[in-house]
């Protein structure tokens, strides 16, 4: 990969990676660090990465960094979730915000799979490469995630109507 191609990757994928991370960990500061680390690693291994695999490579690095951050902050995240679960139904009047809240409560694998699928349009194989899952596992995880979100939204409809 050339420097020009690297710069193209920054322009094309940095927003998507940042969005993916923010949606998963809900911490913009951590997400910025992860994006920075991701592109630093790409720059170091520039001679070994090809342009056509660059997107998967970048998301994989970002995903692994994100997992590390999640593991590090797991206790903190669990406490925060428990604190907000009681009042969450009354905080959202916008469906998308509510769905995002549902996504944030998904298990990490389901959340990663569904965000990669919907935000970046990755296919099952690509998601499997990034997350280290098989294609069938990816499909199952996405199905469970959608089912969870559907039930979550159903609760809101019951509350509103």
């Amino acid at each position: 990969m050339t420097t020009a191609e690297y710069n193209e990757c920054v322009k094309n994928y940095s927003d998507g990676i940042f969005r993916f991370i923010v949606k998963n960990i809900r911490d913009e500061f951590e997400a910025e660090n992860i994006v920075q680390n991701t592109f630093e690693k790409l720059w170091i291994r520039l001679d070994k990465v090809e342009m056509k695999t660059a997107k998967s490579y970048l998301f994989k690095i970002a995903y692994n960094n994100m997992i590390d951050v999640i593991r590090k902050n797991k206790k903190h995240t669990d406490i925060e979730n428990a604190r907000h679960v009681a009042s969450e139904l009354y905080e959202y009047d916008n469906l998308m915000e509510y769905v995002n809240k549902a996504v944030s409560q998904l298990p990490e694998k389901q959340r990663s799979a569904i965000t990669l699928r919907d935000f970046e349009g990755h296919d099952y194989r690509s998601i499997g490469e990034i997350t280290g899952m098989s294609e069938s596992q990816v499909k199952v995880n996405i199905f469970r995630a959608r089912k969870f979100i559907k039930e979550y939204v159903r609760k809101l409809e019951i509350m509103l109507f």
């Binding site: 927003d15 910025e32 920075q36 592109f39 998308m96 935000f119 959608r146 559907k150 159903r154």
Partner: protein, 332 residues
């Protein structure tokens, strides 16, 4: 494909994901529109599609961008190993050989203090600066017959003992002055070098003694008729280039001039004689004297030391008498 309450979630999921064929999609969509329950469920399913928030952007893109002519630093594990080895080698090479205390004892490079190595007088200079007294003994009366034109030799014939004082001029400084300037370390160094020189001399003497003993044995083995009687001419087997007659005449006239200058002190005479003489003069006189001596020993000692001028010391010894001449061909 027919929808029912057991499979509708899976079928709707496949429909949402685009996993169904076009015909299956149409068929499933028709069933969903016809059934209210399926329609509501399908609506909920559609709400699970996440939409990327376009407001969420990474703001530090410019910090990540690289200049296109930037040099790409490629890291390889062997580079770290090579760097480590190089550093170790540099540490070994550049590490000071002296201990810190030794370094502290070393003189500083102040202008008023000369460094020992520079000001250290050479051993050769010290020996040359010493007044060398040589005694040439000549008991043989045949010198005239051998070299009738050599007036300098005549004068040596007339006196049984000639005291030669050789003072080498143009020395950089006297030995005493040097000794005052140099620290104790230089003295120990001089002593060490003198010991080395003495050892070398001893080796030379041993070799010459051996050579002399071999020659003496040969003499004893020769018949009595062939042995040299006392007072007879002695012929040395020392190879030398023959001196042209014109040169000899010139040298003889110079020697006469030297001999005639009676007002000069002996030191001045010797200084003029030795310093201005070429190699042939010294060797010829030395050999002439040696030819008349008994059991002569001649030592030629070339000195090519770094801190002193190159010189050639000629030592002659016979029956306990010794003559030393030092020649410095490159001295003005």
């Amino acid at each position: 494909m027919k929808l029912n309450k057991h499979n509708y979630e899976l079928v709707m999921f496949d429909l949402l994901e685009g996993n169904l064929s076009q015909s299956d999609e149409l068929r499933v969509m028709k069933q969903i529109e016809e059934d209210e329950f399926f329609f509501k469920e399908w609506k909920l399913f559609k709400s699970t599609i996440l939409v990327a928030d376009s407001d969420i952007v990474y703001s530090n893109k410019s910090a990540l961008l690289k200049k296109e002519n930037a040099i790409v630093l490629i890291y390889k594990p062997w580079m770290a190993v090579a760097a480590g080895v190089t550093l170790l080698a540099m540490v070994f090479v550049l590490w000071p050989s002296a201990a810190p205390s030794e370094l502290a004892d070393m003189p500083t490079n102040k202008p008023e203090e000369a460094t020992p190595l520079v000001s250290l007088p050479a051993i050769d200079d010290l020996t040359q600066n010493e007044e060398v007294t040589t005694l040439l003994t000549d008991n043989t009366p045949n010198m005239k017959e051998q070299e009738p034109n050599n007036v300098g030799a005549k004068s040596s014939d007339e006196s049984s003992k000639i005291r030669l004082e050789q003072v080498v001029h143009d020395a950089p400084a006297s030995a005493e002055q040097e000794a005052i300037i140099t620290p104790e370390s230089s003295k120990t160094l001089i002593a060490g070098r003198q010991e080395i020189d003495n050892a070398r001399k001893a080796v030379d003497e041993r070799q010459l003694d051996k050579h002399y003993n071999d020659e003496h044995k040969k003499e004893e083995e020769t018949p009595a008729s062939q042995q040299i009687a006392k007072g007879d001419d002695v012929k040395l087997n020392i190879e030398m280039t023959p001196i042209p007659e014109a040169k000899l005449l010139e040298e003889n006239s110079r020697n006469e001039a030297i001999a005639s200058t009676e007002n000069q002190t002996s030191k001045e005479k010797i200084s003029a004689f030795v310093t201005n003489s070429p190699l042939e003069r010294i060797t010829s006189i030395t050999l002439a004297v040696a030819a008349k001596a008994r059991h002569p020993k001649v030592r030629l000692k070339p000195n090519f030391k770094r801190d002193s001028r190159p010189s050639l010391d000629i030592e002659f010894e016979s029956d306990g008498y010794q003559a030393i001449a030092s020649l410095q061909p490159f001295k003005k």
